[in-house]
Subunit: 596 residues, 2 copies
């Protein structure tokens, strides 16, 4: 921790040089990515906190880290002794980051951050704040870069093409759809910085970010022109030819800033302030007319096409085979496994599957009390053996050419306490209630969320994370705009659930210091009956991995729920059974037998 | 119907005189009231449609009525032969009223309405529309008034005082709270036009609107002054003295327009554009700074205080006694009853209760197919005898000094078909699911709505109305801002459910031409346990009237739901039983016996 203290001291030295009084270090890269290349982990460098979400604020006297409920326990442990105060976002009495920053501002004070890693929407808030208090802004310098001598470089991983048998739609078709949306919104140019949107649009994938197969780049689109700003080192000759045929020009990654400066005044620019960095916005001519709306690609890529859906089912079959074999290993002989070796075993089973491209995120393999740390990630230091008691929580997923998966199972390493079984059963009921919902078109992930929480609320428990997130296709495992959430964030217009959207369903219960339970399936939204009341929608469960009957109390489930569970287990056996060695298949048959 | 045609012709004559091409006739009075004095029923006069909600638009060639799902069947019947087209709001392919009006506008066209009966927020939309199309606006003339020779006068019903043992808070206390809110929002003056807010604030009730005990008036409030604009004829000397002591000045009803014109420029005015009429807004100096937010009184009056809650429980006990006696009469000998005489019987039982001030709305007593007309109101023409088959749906409520009630029961006039019992059971399950919900503070009526709809959605049915509305205290039976609704209307910020809020829980199923089922209880929001996850809230069911066991299929309910039902019936018997004659009490005992 003295290391973090030294870094803070060095940062304050730089702040003094630049007359900066408050310096903000977000978690982001220049593309508002959720996961970032190690090169961009400035917030991790300055705080020591390794979670994916969090923002640091440093003043001459204080340093604070704001993070959300998923990371409270982890951040608490990692900040210990650093002198950095943990601000638990959303807890009563905890000031939001913006409020804290404002309290530090005053006449003549200077607020600083690196504008390239700050969302334009956020920067705008700080801009207003600074003006209100007669303070100033310094957004052109990356002060962390000046104190980070061995900062990792960005790897030069080659970009590759995602064939149409996987993407299901040509680049021409996608460009045409986006251009039509631009026409409808009467804009001259569309600026895209979000890496997954660009990868989807060009049917390209890369390797610049661990677990997210995208490449760092920007894109601008007009009715006539399409320019892809990217490091030349990652683009092969084949890709160049491929793009040239589709009239996509390639330019140097950094040239976008200059090109935006050169736009003619009064250009109507479509961009999403939440996904575009502050420096990009400041590069535009001041008189540009900014249409601040979600990228049209956001909804387009969320609604999977028929080819993608067929592929995704296949990806889940593969993942479910790997995961079920992993469960067999755990349930029939785990005496020799630790958190890390168990995760390796799952990885190995996945790697055996055809077209597997690795993990879709760093897996969580959390035994006993570690399961209560919502985004626990085992390291050599924290690694523990898996004993024959309590729960093992495993949240993992893979990338395949056929799509991306995300699954959580909590495994009874018996014996369990009665209270643990009660909680497991409640989480299972919560999961099934949402998965088997039928709903009229028009419902959103916000209006359905309570179906999942209510069985837990009846027992007086809750989970401090969303109920589910959209899942990308060989992209970020977290994808918008669809999600199951209890509250609509301010200034967000929730989207209707639509056939083709894939969203996770992952309720949990976390008892700090004891255990954690989470059960996660992916749900594909599909059409139900159309009748006098309108179009009904429902879900197809994509994940086909058994729940753990050793942890289920059937007497706490009603008939409807038991029917759902048995129907699901029948599907699991039929989909996965044929691909297992005989001994494992027989074990799965027993696991999926009818529960009464 | 030829009458309506004559009136339309007369209106078009007036439109020609005033060069108006499109004339809008809303349902409202000058206070954006939901229910209005007969004097204000201009929309009813011009269309013949008697429902409480709907707007007419008349052009030289066409006439249309826009109304919502509750009124589709009724409006269809009442508009037949009038030449007025019914626009079913929210149905696919039906243009919203605004869209239709815009399609009729063009260079030089004139749009007209009476600004005193048009919400300022709506008028603003039309204003923008007119300007966009180079059209003009005529909002100073009430054209309906010119063609309505025998227009009813407004009655001079005296205002009366609601003692503090009923209101639970002094006028001084309420004024102080509102003034504090004004201070926080840094406004100079607050303009109130909504009659229930004014009645609540002054602890006064009146009789200008059938079933809503309020008096037509406006109110302006500053830190020093409070002016009540009201017809002198309705204010007694006692009330004058009472208000003078509280430093509330009285002025003539119409003087508010002139007083607003006289405000100094740059006055900061707090008002809710949705609740203030267009003429009021136009009376303000153009440079006035308008803070368009909900009236602070809206939330204050929705959260009932301890005295009100104690009283409301008492009001419900009385209403439940009357309603249960009514059920006994129906179930044990209805051979001689019709829809109208049954409603009279219920009224008579209610009138026997102490402190009863009459109906809180025109009751719905709808037998067989009439039950499918969501807001059916029996008339001499539609009245039918109640037979011994199918369902009778009764939705009724009363005003008491102790509060206002709203209840619906659907009664099995046996024999029923199996499908009818299945639907009754589903509606009952929907009702109980919401009533027995437990939820974390922060939930809104929008986030809980699906709990009620899901049991019906599972069967492929839905109801085309909200799940529940707030209930006033000796005021409008429909009161905001709390409600259970599937969607958040645009530009509305949903409020959190808070202890003290009273909201109805009224799912239904309506099979056109066959029958309707609705089961409505009122729910009081109360605190549940406070724990590691935060403050839990739950509901206390205020309504204590048995459900009809003859229509329930216990095998379609799960154990949890049966437990809820039995616990509720136990409460009903304990609360109501002691006040019934012996024979009726014995009958109620049987009605509330445990169901397995």
């Amino acid at each position: 921790m003295s290391e973090v203290k030294d870094r803070l001291a060095a940062l304050r030295e730089e702040m003094r040089k630049y007359h900066v009084d408050i310096y903000i270090v977000p978690s982001s890269d220049c593309h508002e990515s959720e996961y970032v290349s190690v090169h961009f982990r400035a917030r991790e460098y300055i705080t020591g906190f390794t979670g994916s979400a969090g923002t640091a604020v440093v003043t001459m006297e204080e340093a604070g880290l704001w993070t959300d409920g998923r990371y409270f326990l982890q951040a608490e442990a990692q900040l210990k002794g650093s002198g950095i105060r943990l601000y638990r976002m959303g807890e009563p009495g905890v000031p939001p980051l913006e409020e804290y920053v404002e309290s530090q501002l005053g006449q003549g004070k200077c607020l600083g951050f690196d504008g390239r890693v700050m969302a334009a929407s956020k920067a705008l808030e700080f801009d207003r704040m600074v003006r209100k208090h007669g303070a100033s802004l310094m957004e052109r310098e990356d002060l962390i870069d000046r104190i980070w001598p061995d900062r990792p470089a960005i790897p030069d991983t080659q970009v590759f093409l995602l064939e149409e048998c996987y993407s299901g739609e040509s680049v021409d078709g996608k460009l045409e759809r986006v251009r039509r949306a631009m026409e409808e919104q009467q804009v001259d140019i569309h600026v895209l910085a979000s890496l997954c949107d660009i990868a989807w649009l060009l049917n390209l994938r890369g390797g610049d970010i661990p677990c997210v197969p995208v490449t760092l780049s920007f894109l601008t689109l007009t009715q006539e022109d399409c320019v892809w700003y990217v490091r030349p080192s990652v683009v092969t000759e084949e890709i160049r030819t491929y793009l040239a045929k589709r009239r996509v020009r390639i330019k140097e990654y950094d040239e976008i800033y200059r090109d935006l400066e050169g736009l003619s005044v009064d250009t109507r620019v479509l961009l999403d302030r939440r996904n575009v960095n502050d420096r990009l916005l400041r590069s535009l001519p001041e008189s540009a007319d900014i249409i601040d709306r979600p990228n049209p690609t956001e909804l387009m890529k969320a609604v999977k096409n028929e080819t993608e859906i067929r592929n995704i089912r296949e990806a889940h079959r593969k993942e479910s085979i790997a995961f079920t074999r992993f469960l067999y290993r755990l349930k029939t002989g785990a005496a020799d496994l630790t958190e890390l070796s168990a995760a390796e075993y799952l990885d190995a089973r996945r790697a055996e599957q055809e077209h597997c491209l690795g993990q879709s995120f760093a897996p969580i393999c959390a035994y006993g009390p570690h399961g209560a740390v919502v985004h626990y990630s085992a390291t050599e230091e924290t690694n523990v053996p898996i004993l024959r008691e309590s729960f093992l929580l495993v949240d993992a997923g893979g990338h395949y050419l056929e799509g991306t998966t995300d699954t959580t199972r909590t495994i009874a390493m018996e014996p369990l306490k009665m209270e643990q079984k009660r909680m497991y059963t409640a989480v299972l009921r919560a999961n099934l209630r949402l998965a088997y919902a039928k709903f009229l078109k028009g419902a959103t992930g916000y209006s359905l969320d309570v179906l999942c929480r209510e069985p837990l609320w009846q027992l007086g428990v809750d989970f401090k994370h969303g109920t589910g997130h959209g899942v990308g296709y060989l992209l970020n495992v977290h994808e918008g705009p669809n999600a199951f959430r209890p509250r609509i964030p301010e200034e967000e217009t929730p989207v209707e659930l639509q056939p083709g959207m894939v969203t996770t369903d992952e309720p949990g219960v976390y008892i700090a210091g004891e255990y954690g339970i989470r059960l996660e399936n992916e749900l594909l939204c599909v059409e139900g009956p159309l009748g006098a009341y309108g179009q009904f929608l429902e879900f197809e469960i994509l994940t086909l991995i058994p729940f753990d009957r050793d942890a289920i109390l059937p007497e706490e489930m009603n008939q409807e729920e038991l029917q759902w569970l048995n129907a699901y287990h029948r599907r699991v056996y039929e989909a996965v059974g044929p691909y297992l060695p005989e001994e494992e298949r027989e074990w799965l048959r027993e696991c999926t037998e009818i529960i009464r």
